[in-house]
Each structure stands twice: as C-alpha cells, then as structure tokens.
C-alpha cells in the first residue's frame, strides 16, 4: 500500500517530499489550534498520523487512505523518526536552520526499507490457529479420572495445590478438578524430587480443610448429581465465620521459623544469578543496547543516569540537573504539573473536556523538548500553556464589523446580523448596545423583532428604539432616523419577518439590520430547525452566538448543538455556521473567565464583543492578554 511521507522542519523548510500536500492540513489545522492531543487527523480521503519531535523541532506525518486500517503505521512513524533523527542529528544540532536548508536529506531509500520492514512485520504474525481437539490437553485425559467421586477429589486437589504452592480459598480449589489431569502430569514429573514426609502432613491438613469447603462449594458446581447432597437441611457453614482461630490459622506451625518446611523448589543458582562473571556486590550500569526499544530511553536516561547511580543523593542531583543544563522533558516530569494546571483551569470555569484536551496538546508539544538553563518544569509548562491560551483566543480573521458594513454600504445593500443563543443570555440587551455603537459611528440601524414568542420582547425593543432615538435625534444626523424597529407582533413566523425586514431596509436605505431571535434550548429540535431555517433562508452576513460568561461545561454542549443544527438544515454546500461570539455578563465573573476559552476552542471563531453591564456604553472588545493573565493568575 502506498504510504507517503514528508519530513520537514517546523520552520517550513522541507525537502523532496513525496506528497507535500499531506503536511498542510496538519500544519494549518490541529497543530496551531492546540488540538494536537491525539495524533491522528482525518482530511478528506486521507487519514494523517503525525508525530512531533520537539527537541529538534520536526514534524513527521504519515498519510494513508482513510478506508485502509493499517496497524503498522505507529511503529513505522516511530522507526522513521528515530532513524531520521539519528542520521541527521549533527546537522540539526550544529547548523540549525542553515543545516536544514543546505543539507540534502536523502532519506528515500531508508524510508522504503523501513516501510517494507513494517509491512512484513505486520504480516508475519499469522492469526493464531485454534488447537484441534487432538492437540488439546483434554483429549489426553482418561475417562477414569474424569469421573469425580467424593472421596478421591480432595486428594487430587491437594496434589494440585501442592504443586501450585499457594493457598487460595475454596472456590479456587473447586476449579481445580478440570485441571486435574494436568495436575497429575505435573505431579508425576515433579513427584520424585519431593520430600513426602512433611507433605503428607500438609496433605492431611488440607484434606480436612477442603472437606469442609466441599460441602459449601458443591452447590455451585453442577457436575455432581444433586441426590447426594439432600440429606436433610444442613446448616450453612460460612467460610470464615463461626470458626475458631485454629481453622483460620493458615500458617503451618511447623513452617514458621524453620528453614526447610516449604517444599523445596527447584532452585538453580546459576540461572538465578545470571552472569557468572559478575563481581559480587557491584551495581552495574545500564547497558546501551543498540536495538530500537532501548534507543528512545537512551536520550532521556542520559541526563538522568548520574542521578540513578548516586542512589540516595539521586533526588537532589536530579533536581539540580533540572535547574542547570539541558534536561529534556518527559511525560512523567510534566504530568504532575499538568494535572495541577488542569485543575486550575477547571476551577476558572473552563469546560472540563476542553481543559483536558488543552493539557494533552501542551504535553505533546513539550515532550522531548530540551529545557534551557535555570528553567524549571513548572515554568516551562506554564509558559507553553499561556502561549497556547493566547493562540486559542486569536483564531482566524478578526471580525471587523465596521469594515464589513462599509463594504456593504458600497454595494448598496444592508449588512444583516443575526443574534442567536439560549434563553436569558442577554441577546436583546446586547443588541441594543451594538446598535448604539453603530449609530455612534454613523450607520443607520433597523432592528427586526423576530422574537415573536416571549412576552414583552417587542415592547422591550421598542423602548430601546425610543431611547436610542432620544440620544441620537434625527436632527443631529442630517434628518435621518438612525434607528427604527420593524415588528409584526407576536405569533408570526420569524423567518418571514426577517425577510421582510431586510427588503424594507434595502428599500429605505438602512445600513445595518440587527435581527433579534427568541432564546431556545439547544436540545429543542423544532426550535433549532426554525432557527436554522431563518439563517438559511435569509443568509445573514454575520451570525453571532450570544453566550454568557457564567456558563460552564454547558457552553460546549450549546455551541456544538447550535452548529450542528445550522449545518444539518442548511441546503447550501458550505453551510452558514456561527461566525462570532458575543460574551455577555462579563462583569459578573471576577477572574473566572474560562468560558471565553471554552467557546473559542469549540468553534474556532473569535469573540467579537464582550458585554460588561446593562447600559449602552458597556460594550467592549476582547483583550486576549488580559483574559489569559486573569486565567493563569493563581
């Protein structure tokens, strides 16, 4: 099968890749957007698996067709990574970017060889064939030993137990009969070597023990005929209760303290000690084997080797080593810090699953990275997390409403903005704030009251319109009414009202149309369908999702379901999804600003406005650095 690869430095200099196009979706998709938690990614017809080498800043991508399920891909990518890194280690270390540029990376032959090896190794393991009856152990049992009679059973079991050398409770013993023949075989093999005197004592004691247990355990085993048991009602013997200490005393009084009471196992000193040439008492170093399994450990164990050797002082040296010099980060180092950071994020109201994914992504990005001098693991991880958070809050192209309104003005059509969200988040309030802002900038606004359900919705908007007109009377704007309300009362179809409002605005020359919709829960299917229809039919220029900053894990659910509904019910090839987020009630949270992260992470769309109060001036734009600072603050 045709796998393909491109090795490229993270800085973008690639060499002759076989399929350069495979790299781009990863580089523009999950990696910058901090979704690098799991290492595989689907793009059109391909599945792309990637691996990051943070020490030398490399990305390894393997792409293959989605319909194939290749089991050897992970191993292949690991092998390629190791070999490439070792082969070109010098160039990376010494020459940096110039090395990448000027070096020829003739890796094609090596890659083909590794690919062939990987394919073969996945074929070599033939599927395990079921044993035929002849081969199985059961066929070799004689019929005689399969017949279970009461007297004999304990003995066989005892023999089994002896061989196993451990005391287990009754049920385990009951399970033994099926392996009786196996036990027999083992017994005959080992029998000659055992001392029987002590064992006979053991046997007898065990017989007693098991006889007691047989009465209790018999009922759960069906091979016995039931007739034997029913000799009147017997009191139930509990295994461990109502018995005196003697029964419970499993210790063999003869064995404690005496050296040879245990059955003498076969102890071959030579085999146990291994190398005969070792110096007694010396602690040897780890050996550097050259096979692949040990190689990865080599890189990390190198710096930590001295700390291992020095035993008691090891901890201190390890810490010092971490402070000064080049220690590369391992998963174990980062885990405690990441756990703490994850809990911290969740305490700051970031949705739980997003905090987890974020920490995973940061871990992947930092694994194997060499830390600079005097940096601790905590500070490196915090730094990386901070960068990741800032990155998340600055996704894609900023939504510049004024710029786009000017564009629409030039084309003589109104700019349509739709507000959607669940109940009670502040859609109407923020709509009024935004219209105030637009009027201040000289654009005329038409408010479409498409919330035909909630009592008082239309009146609320009418009050706002009146107030805004009082603040900006037509006289001060050259006789133009800056804001007007378009409403058709209650109970009508929202999509229809929106369409009429837009054509009215076009006729009257309004610059912006703000469409207010009713709040709806994301699980309410008919209402979501109605919203999707409104957006699909009217094709607004901007779809804003209004979410409150108080929301916690719900934000994830809301946004996912809203987007899904919009995508499902749209007829177009590229459905209109949520274009931006309005974060409201920001003044009610002190520094628990995690909702901002959750929402932008889910949608990858920017936060366009932030609402910080109930007056017209309480409209802000997002300051990513301030939010991240508040989030990382202890």
């Amino acid at each position: 099968c045709k796998g393909c690869w491109t090795a490229l430095g993270k800085g973008g200099d690639g060499d002759e890749g076989m399929m350069g196009v495979a790299g781009t979706p990863i580089l523009t998709g999950p990696l910058p957007q901090e979704r690098g938690g799991n290492n595989s990614f689907t793009h059109e017809a391909l599945t792309l698996k990637y691996k990051l080498d943070n020490q030398f800043e490399l990305v390894f991508v393997v792409g293959f067709q989605k319909i194939l399920t290749l089991t050897y891909v992970d191993k292949l990518i690991d092998d390629v990574h190791k070999e490439f890194r070792d082969k070109y280690r010098n160039e990376f270390q010494q020459k940096g970017a110039l090395g990448l540029l000027n070096g020829t990376f003739d890796f094609k032959d090596d890659f083909m060889r590794l690919l062939r090896d990987a394919e073969e190794s996945s074929k070599v393991r033939a599927p395990t064939v079921m044993k035929t009856f002849q081969q199985s152990v059961k066929s070799q049992k004689t019929v005689k030993c399969m017949i279970e009679t009461r007297g004999e059973k304990p003995k066989e079991k005892v023999k089994n137990k002896k061989n196993k050398g451990s005391k287990k409770d009754g049920t385990e013993a009951v399970a033994a009969p099926s392996k009786a023949s196996a036990g027999d075989k083992q017994l005959s093999a080992a029998g000659d070597k055992e001392e029987l005197t002590k064992d006979e004592i053991l046997q007898k004691k065990r017989e007693e023990f098991f006889r007691r247990h047989m009465k209790a355990g018999e009922k759960s085993r069906s091979p016995k005929p039931d007739a034997q048991k029913e000799k009147g009602k017997k009191p139930r013997v509990w295994d461990l209760g109502n018995s005196n200490a003697k029964v419970l005393d499993y210790s063999n009084s003869a064995t404690n303290g005496s050296a040879e009471a245990c059955p003498v196992e076969e102890f071959d000193p030579d085999m146990a000690l291994g190398d005969k040439n070792r110096e007694p008492g010396r602690l040897y170093d780890l050996e550097y084997e050259s096979d692949d399994e040990a190689e990865e450990e080599k890189v990390v164990q190198n710096p930590s080797k001295p700390s291992v050797k020095k035993g008691g002082l090891g901890g201190m040296f390890g810490m010092l080593k971490g402070l000064v010099g080049s220690k590369s980060l391992t998963r174990e180092d980062m885990d405690p810090v990441l756990e703490k950071m994850k809990d911290h994020l969740i305490a700051k109201n970031v949705a739980a699953e997003i905090a987890v994914q974020l920490c995973e992504s940061v871990a992947k990005k930092l694994e194997g990275k060499v830390m600079g001098t005097f940096t601790t693991v905590t500070s490196t991880v915090k730094q990386a997390l901070q960068e990741a958070l800032v990155q998340i809050l600055q996704p894609q192209r900023r939504v510049d409403v004024l710029r786009d309104v000017m564009d629409a003005q030039r084309h003589r059509r109104p700019y349509v903005v739709t507000f959607c969200g669940v109940n009670g988040v502040g859609k109407s309030t923020n709509l009024a704030k935004i219209s105030f802002w637009l009027i201040e900038n000289g654009f005329s606004v038409l408010i479409a009251a498409c919330d035909t359900f909630r009592a008082g919705a239309v009146e609320q908007l009418r009050t706002h319109t009146r107030r805004l007109n009082a603040l900006h009377p037509p006289e001060s704007h050259g006789g133009r009414t800056m804001v007007q309300l378009y409403e058709k009362g209650y109970g009508k179809d929202a999509a229809g009202i929106a369409m009429e409002a837009i054509s009215y605005a076009r006729n009257q020359g309004f610059d912006v149309v703000l469409v207010d919709t009713a709040g709806r829960m994301q699980d309410n299917a008919p209402l979501m369908t109605a919203l999707a229809k409104l957006i699909a039919v009217n094709a607004p220029d901007l779809v804003l999702f209004v979410g409150e900053a108080l929301v916690g894990n719900e934000a994830v659910d809301q946004l996912v379901k809203f987007n899904k509904a919009l995508a499902d019910h749209s007829m177009a090839q590229t459905p209109r999804l949520i274009d931006g987020i309005v974060l409201t009630k920001f003044d009610t949270i002190d520094d628990k600003v995690g909702a901002a992260i959750s929402m932008t992470y889910i949608t990858s769309k920017p936060i366009v406005f932030v609402g910080t109060g109930q007056t017209y001036c309480d409209l802000r734009s997002l300051n990513a650095k301030a939010v991240v600072a508040a989030l990382m603050k202890a």
């Binding site: 491109t6 490229l8 430095g9 993270k10 800085g11 973008g12 200099d13 690639g14 060499d15 002759e16 890749g17 350069g20 790299g23 781009t24 580089l27 523009t28 990696l31 910058p32 957007q33 800043e57 990305v59 940096g96 970017a97 110039l98 990448l100 540029l101 000027n102 960068e387 800032v390 990155q391 998340i392 600055q394 996704p395 894609q396 192209r397 900023r398 510049d400 004024l402 710029r403 000017m406 802002w437 201040e440 900038n441 920001f586 406005f609 932030v610 910080t612 409209l619 802000r620 734009s621 997002l622 300051n623 650095k625 301030a626 939010v627």
Partner: protein, 257 residues
C-alpha cells in the same frame, strides 16, 4: 530629645567614615557599580536590533524567500508553524551580519511570534502575494495595520520593505497598484479600528495608536519609518533550477544593514 540622641550617632559615623576600612568598602561599591553600568551598556549594544523579520500572510512566500536569500537554492516548503532564524552574510560588506528571521503567517501564530521578535527588529520585510492580492487585500491590510500600530514598532521605527512577491506569475499586480490599494485600505482601517469598542482593562493608552496624520488621507510617507515597495520573485522566472529574482530585496538589505 531626638536631636540629642542623634548627635552622638552622627559623631560616631563621622569618625568611622574617616577610617580606612570604610573607604575601601566605598571604593569597592563604586567599582561594582561602574562594572554593572558598563555591562549594561555593552549588553545593550550587543543585543541591539540586528534582526530582519520576514512577515506576511500564509502562502506569501516568506519561507522560500528565506531559503533563497540564505542558500540560493530552491526548496519545497510547507506552512511554517514556528520561526526559523539564520545569519545572513551581506555579499559586499563581509563584516556586517544580520539575522534573518522567518516567522509563521498563520493567524493564530503570527501575533505571538511578532511579540517575541519585534523588539529585536532592525528592519521588517513584509511579503505580499501579488497574485492573490485582490482577494486578500483586507487581510493583508489588517496584518500590516497590526504591525504598524504596535507600540514597539512605532518607537523603534524599523525600516519597512513591502516585497511584492510572486512576480513570475503573469497575473501579478504591480508594486504601484499594491501601494495604492494598501493606502486606501489602511485609510479605512484606521477609522474603523479606532472606533472599535475599547478593550477590557487594557486601554490605558486610549486605544490603538493613530496611524499617519489625521484629516489627510493615509499615505506611507506619513509613517515614522522608511517604507519602500519592491517587486520580487522568490521562485524565479526560470523555474526551480534557475535563479530567484531578488535583486531589489538584496539591495535594500545592504542599504539597511
């Protein structure tokens, strides 16, 4: 009573100061202070801005430009997700050395990397894709605006070169046209951006800085730094094996270094 208590102390102090031990301590302190000042001065000189940043949108051709300037050869490139830096030898003058830094253009990453390297920038090369310019003019202008209103950039005023790349393609727009369009777009942008709602608890300076002169249409000559427009082609008109057409860029680099 206070003054009385102080007098003997002052006397004791004066007596002490005349002793030789204190003098040597003072001399030592002064020596340390001087060393410190010298060190800071040298540090400042050494870390003075020696970097030339390559900025631009995704797919503008920054990484290829970087490769061509450094090695002269063509390389297949991918979207960068981190910076690459290397020392660039100016051909005539062997002594001066600038560091070329290629920053990623991806929206989520670009501002972060700009933050990191803007203080060290002596010059900025803003690479523009001349072929896709018509389509991307708003995005180009937005990024350029963000670079220009940055307080560090305004203070240091590094020289700015707008390299109109991909001139080897026939549909490429000329530098003149790109300049005119950018000026118009930036003119609009500075109005809309300054009218945007103020950001949360961060607008101590009173919003984004004003670009150019108020009242007049925006012009690149109004900026505190020197701005030049140059046409270039990192790929080169003779295909991958041939030379790149980078004379304008190289000449400018020599001038600026």
């Amino acid at each position: 009573a206070m003054a009385g208590g102080l007098e003997p102390h002052l006397e004791a102090l004066r007596r002490e100061l005349r002793g030789p031990a204190v003098l040597s301590v003072l001399v030592a302190l002064i020596a340390v202070a001087i060393t410190f000042l010298i060190w800071r001065f040298v540090q400042g000189r050494r870390s003075s801005r020696k970097a030339v940043l390559l900025l631009g949108l995704c797919d503008a051709g920054k990484t290829l430009l970087f490769a061509r300037l450094l090695s002269g050869r063509y390389r297949d490139t991918q979207t960068s997700i981190t910076d690459s830096s290397a020392a660039y030898r100016l051909s005539r003058d062997k002594s001066t050395n600038v560091t070329l830094i290629d920053l990623p253009g991806h929206e989520s990453l670009r501002l972060q990397f700009l933050e990191r390297f803007k203080a060290a920038a002596r010059a900025i090369v803003f690479v523009v894709d001349s072929v896709a310019f018509q389509r991307e003019v708003k995005d180009v202008a937005e990024f350029l605006y963000q670079v220009l209103v940055d307080s560090t950039v305004l203070r240091n005023a590094p020289a700015l070169l707008i390299a109109c790349n991909k001139q080897d393609v026939t549909m490429a727009k000329s530098a003149k046209l790109i300049q005119q369009q950018l000026e118009k777009e930036l003119n609009t942008l500075r109005v809309t951006r300054s009218a945007a709602p103020t950001s949360l608890e961060g607008s101590g300076t009173g919003g984004p800085a004003q670009l150019g002169k108020k009242g007049k249409d925006f012009d690149f000559s109004q900026l505190p730094m020197k701005v030049e427009f140059v046409e270039c082609s990192a790929r080169g008109s003779k295909g991958e094996e041939g030379e790149a057409d980078l004379e304008g860029v190289e000449k400018w680099l020599v001038k600026v270094a």
